[in-house]
């Protein structure tokens, strides 16, 4: 055998070895192509539900969980809980033997206990807490639902029991604790960081007790997790989980088609045909607990006037949006709540339109309207820009002048926190965090949420607030439903927003992947995913 032949054989052997190695890595890892990178690894501080889907269910546990099939509350970190008769005290008994992650940057010396639960919530409740100050008190979800204002006391009863004492009964309290935001952090890790004066690292280099632990990331490119061997529910089958951050849906699709991704988040409706044509690709479709809507800035003329809001609302052709943007993968929204919610109130007609030409409407048409829209796809709206153009067209036909302005989510967040905001109309939406209707209403229409910048219509109504609190004060379903009906009627009459669509939630994945759980209130879980 001459030197050339030996070289060829060696090269081939190398190639084959390389292929084997690559196959092994592929078999034990999953790549999920998602659209948004989280700006923090602590869901308590995050506002985008898409970004939370990358962190919460994989890295952390919660006190209680929602069973994705039965929708009932089940034990998480707490294996048992009791509610006092007056509905003011919630005692949680914690599970033993829950291990925190062991990583390059932290090795835990103890298991999860009451101190961790106390730290996780105290940082939200105690305005003097160093972690509260560090986060600038910016806990979007908890601030919007007024979590802090309703907790009288949080007490450590023993190493394995904690108690929340509320000021007034809150029927949505447990559902809020089961949301993606209510994660349990490690107090030991916080102590260690505090001693080395690196407390800021707590939210960027995460330590949780979830089924995967953080390994590394490259900003806006990828995030890598490894399986947590000691997870209390058992280690996940996949060794490695990678989130490939790909904001453009066409590139996500291309990556799925070429096998660079195993799962793709939110294919656009016009991509479904391509996906159906490939035998090896499956599409998961769920009724979306979401709503996309046009928010009127009710604190600024001309939309401070409900008559102008009604006039504009009557001009928008929702059916055309469903047909052109969603290609019929969405339902027309009559109200804020999705029809699958138990508090849904059927609304038979669109907001009343003033057909007559009143002087105030003519005046409103003289100045151009600023319509702001996000430049990225969201689960409730795959093509916000196109939707905005359709709305603009409808309004222009109605005699209004409209300027459309595209904004990045982070930039929009900055603007929304300012005391005065210059938009007239904002095309946004909401995906629910839990099954309770309170999540929809309180986060988007409460007066607290105006200050937090999540009440996009900046609408604050005293009667509405009273009804909102009354709806959570009772645990009787009939009372709650009655209050939510009234709440929906107020929104219908006052038109702070124009609900547009309820989008279907879609994912596409390779048929070699099994065991993925699609959570109706958030993202996707790969805890039991495996490859055949």
């Amino acid at each position: 055998m001459n030197a050339f032949s030996i070289g060829t054989v060696m090269c081939l052997a190398f190639l084959l070895l390389g292929c084997d190695q690559q196959k092994d890595v592929k078999k034990l890892g999953l790549v999920y192509c998602t659209e948004t990178a989280p700006h923090t690894f602590n869901p308590q501080l995050e506002s985008s539900i898409n970004a939370i889907a990358v962190t919460s269910r994989h890295l952390y546990d919660r006190l209680v969980e929602v069973d994705p099939i039965t929708q009932q509350l089940v034990g998480g970190v707490a294996n048992n809980w009791q509610v006092s008769e007056d509905g003011l005290r919630y005692r949680f008994d914690l599970r033993q033997g829950i291990h925190f992650h062991k990583t390059d940057y932290f090795s835990p010396s103890r298991n999860l206990n009451a101190d961790d639960v106390i730290l996780s919530f105290e940082r939200i409740l105690d305005t003097e807490h160093p972690l509260y100050i560090l986060a600038n008190g910016d806990y979007p979800f908890f601030n919007n639902i007024g979590f802090g204002s309703n907790i009288r006391k949080l007490t450590k009863l023993s190493e394995s029991a904690v108690e929340f004492e509320l000021k007034r009964p809150d029927a949505a309290f447990l559902a809020n604790l089961a949301s993606d935001y209510a994660v349990i952090l490690s107090a030991e890790y916080a102590d260690k960081l505090s001693q080395s004066n690196q407390l800021g690292q707590l939210d960027q280099l995460p330590i949780g007790s979830g089924p995967f632990y953080y390994v590394n990331q490259r900003k806006d490119h990828f995030i890598r997790y490894y399986r947590h061997w000691l997870h209390w529910r058992g280690a996940p089958p996949m060794q490695q989980l990678v989130f490939d951050i790909t904001p453009t849906s066409s590139i996500r699709l291309a990556k799925l088609l070429t096998g660079q991704c195993d799962i793709m988040a939110q294919p656009a409706a016009n991509q479904l045909e391509v996906l159906k044509a490939r035998e090896e690709l499956l599409v998961s479709v769920q009724a979306g607990l979401n709503v996309s809507y046009l928010a009127f800035n009710t604190q600024k003329p001309p939309f401070a006037d409900v008559r102008i809001r009604r006039n504009v609302a009557g001009l928008v052709n929702k059916q055309r949006i469903v047909d052109s943007v969603y290609l019929s993968t969405a339902d027309i929204a009559e109200g804020v709540l999705s029809p699958s919610s138990w508090a849904y109130r059927h609304q038979s007609r669109s907001p009343e339109q003033d057909h007559l030409v009143y002087p105030y409407i003519e005046k409103a048409k003289q100045d151009p309207i600023e319509l702001w829209v996000l430049n990225e796809a969201k689960s409730y709206n795959p093509q916000p820009r196109k939707t905005a153009e359709l709305i603009r067209n409808d309004l222009v036909n109605g005699g209004y002048q409209v300027n459309v302005r595209l904004l990045d989510w982070q930039v929009l967040r900055r603007y929304l926190r300012a005391p005065e905001v210059n938009y007239d109309l904002l095309l946004v939406g909401w995906s629910t965090d839990n099954s309770d209707p309170d999540d929809f209403f309180r986060q988007q229409f409460s007066c607290d949420a105006v200050e937090q910048g999540y009440n996009f219509s900046r609408w604050c109504n005293g009667h509405f607030e009273q009804l909102l609190n009354a709806a959570t004060a009772s645990t009787r379903l009939a009372d709650r439903v009655r209050n939510y009906y009234k709440i929906q009627k107020i929104i219908e009459q006052d038109v702070p927003i124009l609900p547009l669509t309820h989008a279907l939630k879609m994912y596409s994945y390779n048929d070699s992947v099994h065991g993925i759980t699609w959570n109706p209130y958030g993202g996707v879980s790969f805890n039991n995913a495996y490859r055949k």
Partner: protein, 321 residues
């Protein structure tokens, strides 16, 4: 040579100061700088001093120093540019030489026509065409990214091809293959313009050299065309075109930044675009300063290198001044 070296360094320093002045003026308009009662020149001096020290500020979105982010993203872009330049030399030198030798011949016309077509095609369109055909239809190359994300390549130097050396021996080969397959398409697209430039300039330079008396003398000595080209013509035709190819670096870098968005290449272009979307002015300013400085440094270094290997260049420059 020392005088020439000092002249070039002067050029580098002055251009750097001008770029900083432009950035400084914009910064004043954006209110990014803390207003003080100091005379503007003192503020400007402080600004330049901070930039030289790598203190480009802290990104308002990520909260990390802009310099650290640059250091982590720039190598990916440079890797792409180096690969494109390498490919442009590999393809451009033989074709440029051929076009230069066959002066006033259909071969030259053919090569230059193809070159003109290549030069005229918008890179992003070509990129999309290639992705559609060679990735999606034929499955030859990955659509985007830098390597298979399940392969864990450590970030040591930032250059993927180098960083695979830090992997375990059995993991190196698949990692290298993955990097090269991901590099193929963007390199191919990015190399189009510098290749056309190499061909065009080298063919002119070669045609000029081939008409020199010493070439004719070599031919009369009985040397073959191949021998004349490799022994005499090529190493006289190449050095004069190097400075203008150095100037091409700025072009290539700009195109690389556009292509990074198409190929989801995790380099400085994609980082800058995302900073623009997020209105992160400090990051945008730092990125622009870094890119501009890199382009000037490359130009001056190419010029010095040319002067080192081609003394005639020094004389040309002196004659210009």
């Amino acid at each position: 040579m020392l005088r020439y070296f000092i002249r070039r360094i002067n050029l580098l320093v002055i251009t750097f100061l001008i770029i900083n002045l432009i950035a400084f003026i914009f910064q004043q308009n954006q209110n990014l700088f803390v207003k003080t009662d100091d005379f503007w020149f003192k503020q400007y001096a402080l600004f330049v001093f901070q930039n030289i020290n790598g203190d480009l500020g802290v990104s308002s979105i990520s909260g990390k120093p802009v310099f650290d982010e640059l250091v982590s993203f720039l190598p990916a872009t440079l890797e792409l540019c180096f690969a494109a330049f390498l490919l442009s030399f590999i393809i451009g030198i033989p074709l440029g030489t051929l076009a230069g030798i066959y002066h006033q011949h259909w071969i030259r016309n053919l090569i230059l026509s193809v070159t003109m077509v290549g030069y005229s095609i918008p890179v992003f369109w070509l990129a999309l065409l290639l992705v559609m055909n060679s990735s999606l239809m034929l499955g030859w190359f990955p659509v985007s990214g830098r390597y298979d994300l399940l392969l864990e390549i450590p970030q040591v130097t930032g250059f993927g091809i180098v960083d695979v050396m830090w992997l375990e021996p059995q993991a190196r080969w698949p990692a290298l293959m993955s990097i090269l397959s991901h590099l193929a398409l963007p390199t191919l697209v990015l190399a189009v313009v510098p290749t056309t430039e190499v061909i065009r300039q080298l063919s002119n330079s070669m045609a000029k050299v081939m008409s020199e008396n010493y070439i004719k003398a070599a031919a009369t000595k009985g040397l073959s065309k191949w021998q004349i080209v490799t022994r005499h013509a090529l190493h006289n035709a190449l050095p004069p075109i190097l400075p203008s190819l150095g100037l091409q670096f700025g072009n290539v870098l700009t195109m690389a930044m556009v292509l990074e968005v198409v190929f989801a290449w995790p380099g400085i272009g994609r980082w800058l675009i995302s900073s623009i979307y997020q209105q992160d002015y400090i990051a945008i300013q730092g990125g622009m300063l870094a890119v501009a400085t890199l382009v000037i440094i490359t130009f001056v270094l190419t010029d010095l290198f040319t002067a080192l290997i081609h003394p005639l260049r020094r004389r040309e420059v002196y004659a210009q001044h």
